[in-house]
Amino acid sequence: MREYETTFVLAPTLSEEEVEETVTSFTGVAEEKGAKVVNVDNWGKRRLAFPVKKHDDGFYVVLTLQQETVEAVTELERRFKVNDSVIRFLSVRVDEELKTAETSRLRRKPRSQESAENPDSKAEADEPVS
């Protein structure tokens, strides 16, 4: 199952309720397109590092989606482009990056256990050149 993270920034001119509404409408779209909404992370209003479309602040929302295809993400991005209250967005496929992170974590794990239980066997295991 692929996992996507879609972050979008909403204009600060919206009220808290409007932000809520927009977010639910977007999660609705994602579900309609067959994606599973794993997490909705609403950061609230934050200062932008630089002005975007003349705005200095924005509401950050991070959606975590699971789906076998990009369908939901494509549809969301299309809507982001159309919707004027979305000032920035970024979609990232994270499952592969998390997987490589996981393998490198596992690669390290057994070695440290090994060295803890049996310090002698440690000698032949090469330290990762990292």
Binding site: A49, F50, G58, Y60, E102, R108
Partner: protein, 69 residues
């Protein structure tokens, strides 16, 4: 930034550098807004690559600046 002879990420056993983790990222983005070179930060090649990508993503989302004067 202090010169470091070891990679912060290797030492901290961090395998995935998150573009949303501004605290960590901003450590490698000094005042000018440029990404700190490995020779100063001591980050290993693997992690510098991941760091670079995370910083660029964060920049796009206006979490950290492209330039500051």
């Amino acid at each position: 930034m202090a010169r470091r002879r070891f990679c912060k990420f290797c030492a901290g056993k961090i395998d995935y550098i998150d573009y949303k983790d501004i605290k960590t990222l901003s450590f490698f983005v000094p005042e000018r807004g440029r990404i700190a070179p490995r020779r100063l930060s001591g980050v290993c090649a693997t992690h510098q690559r991941k760091l670079r990508r995370a910083i660029k993503r964060a920049r796009h989302l206006a979490l950290i600046p492209y330039v500051t004067d």
